[in-house]
């Protein structure tokens, strides 16, 4: 019996780019989604700004909004891109287009990287808008470069995209896909060091926190918040988040089976 093996996931920059353009066109046709992607994080950040505006800061420490707001600049893109990607990929699976794509010359990794590139670009726009409004309108005080904040936000968004692509493999319905958001996102949010500093958690919670990628994203942002120049620790944090993104993408590629029942 001779069965065609799944193709090695070879890469074609041309097909990846065509797929990224296609995904961006789909998003562009959905004006409300575009508006929400660009404006929603800024709006929510404004709510946090108003929440802490009149709460006096502890003398000698950064204001609470500076601390929380900066962290949220990394968390918003992660959450938004996770949700958008997991739904988009689930649609691809349920509408039959995924099966069709797998009969074309498009490689599995081309498809995943196409999604990554499209939503990565969307995340960059989102991060520029959010960081600009945060630092001008809300007076968010960042010690380091705001471009580093944008960079970390985009890497966080890429992590959200990769985990969203992976999570969609385990969802059969959109109801399930939406509920993966609290499953994947909330534990990382609780343990990332924003609510309670990681070194004050119980030992076993620290251990969990240290294997969750969002912890490193938040730590990277805190480094930018505390130092005028990029620190080695920040770059290590960024590398960990990027590595987790690649790992999730590789796992997502492994879940894309060409032959199914």
């Amino acid at each position: 019996m001779t069965l065609a093996r799944s193709a090695p996931t070879h890469l074609s920059p041309r097909l990846t780019a065509a797929t990224a353009r296609r995904v961006l066109r789909q998003v562009a046709h959905d004006h409300r989604t575009v508006a929400m992607m660009l404006v929603l994080p800024s709006g929510l950040l404004g709510l946090l700004y108003l929440l802490w505006k009149d709460v006096p800061a502890v003398p000698g420490q950064p204001g609470i909004f500076d601390h929380v707001g900066l962290t949220m600049l990394g968390i918003f893109p992660f959450v938004v891109m996770f949700l958008v990607t997991s739904i988009a990929m689930l649609r691809e699976r349920t509408s039959g287009t995924l099966e069709r794509l797998l009969t074309t010359p498009l490689g599995r990794l081309d498809l995943l990287l196409g999604y990554g590139a499209a939503f990565g670009l969307a995340a960059t726009l989102q991060a520029v808008v959010t960081v600009t409004i945060a630092t001008t309108v809300y007076g968010l005080d960042v010690t380091g470069s705001i471009w580093l904040v944008v960079l970390i936000a985009v890497v966080d968004a890429a992590l959200g995209v990769a985990l969203g692509l992976l999570a969609s493999a385990f969802a059969r319905t959109e109801f399930q896909a939406v509920q993966f958001m609290p499953v994947i996102v909330l534990p990382q949010f609780f343990l990332c060091g924003l609510l309670v500093p990681v070194d004050q958690m119980a030992g076993w919670l620290q251990a969990i926190s240290h294997v969750l990628p969002l912890t490193y994203a938040v730590d990277a942002l805190q480094e930018v918040g505390a130092h005028t120049t990029a620190t080695g620790r920040m770059w290590i944090d960024v590398a960990v988040v990027a590595g987790a993104t690649l790992l999730a993408l590789a796992l997502a590629a492994a879940t894309l089976r060409r032959r199914t029942d």
């Binding site: 097909l15 509408s95 069709r100 009969t103 498009l106 029942d261």
Partner: protein, 241 residues
């Protein structure tokens, strides 16, 4: 001439159920071969095996001389699924251009494919707003755009008005005349008469591998629907005897 498709002892199980049971047949190139059979007979499963997305228990499926689904085939085989698989939130033209890009073709070929299915006037409309028949044609355009050597079509004419159906069948034959091999599934017997060759599938087994004329002659029935019934009855008696 070598067959375009050769299937040998193909067995497919889905869960505990055997969907295809030791199928063996060959499909000649440059012809329209109809895959006929009632709903649930295994037509879609067989077509999925031909394009290499169906898990197969045993047997061989060779397409254009290569194992079905192998990478070099993916630019040469076009597949249209039963329910239209195009992006509802893109326009017809954007869909065609995306699939054109995947097959290494340009915007010109994409527009030609849209015109070929009679959707030029609706090219800039989003697929979500189209009628069922228009969606099916948009989906067909996305396979035609690759100018494949083998075109696998799963019930492409369901829900189309009769005039359009005739037009599409004329197009299928024009493609076959230019050398394309087409395998078209249908559960409508009046479409069987339009095929060069017929595969009749029932309960995962082949009842006939024949031409419409031979089938009429063998069964003595003028009508292919009647001929199909006749075949089922004779097979039933053979099994009982």
């Amino acid at each position: 001439m070598d067959p375009a498709v050769r299937v040998t002892d193909l067995v497919v199980d889905r869960g505990p159920r055997r969907v295809l049971d030791k199928l063996t047949f060959a499909v000649a190139p440059g012809q329209v071969t109809g895959l006929l059979g009632p709903s649930g007979s295994g037509k879609t499963t067989l077509l999925r095996a031909l394009v290499g997305v169906q898990k197969v228990r045993s047997g061989e499926v060779t397409v254009l001389g290569l194992a079905a689904g192998s990478p070099p085939l993916r630019a040469r085989v076009g597949y249209v699924t039963q329910s239209p698989s195009v992006y509802a939130d893109l326009s017809v033209r954007e869909n065609a251009r995306y699939f054109a890009a995947l097959y290494g073709r340009g915007a010109h070929e994409a527009d030609a494919a849209v015109a070929a299915v009679g959707l030029s006037d609706a090219a800039s409309r989003l697929v979500t707003g189209l009628s069922g028949g228009q969606k099916a044609r948009a989906s067909l355009a996305c396979a035609l755009v690759g100018d494949p050597d083998l075109l696998v079509l799963d019930e492409p004419t369901v829900g189309l008005d009769p005039v359009l159906r005739v037009e599409l069948w004329d197009r299928f034959h024009a493609l076959a005349d230019s050398g394309t091999t087409l395998i078209v599934s249908s559960h409508v017997m009046d479409e069987a008469a339009r095929c060069d060759r017929l595969l009749l599938l029932r309960d995962g087994a082949l009842l006939a591998d024949s031409t419409p004329a031979e089938l009429r002659a063998d069964t003595g029935a003028d009508d292919l629907e009647e001929a199909f019934l006749q075949l089922i009855r004779t097979r039933g008696q053979e099994v009982a005897a």
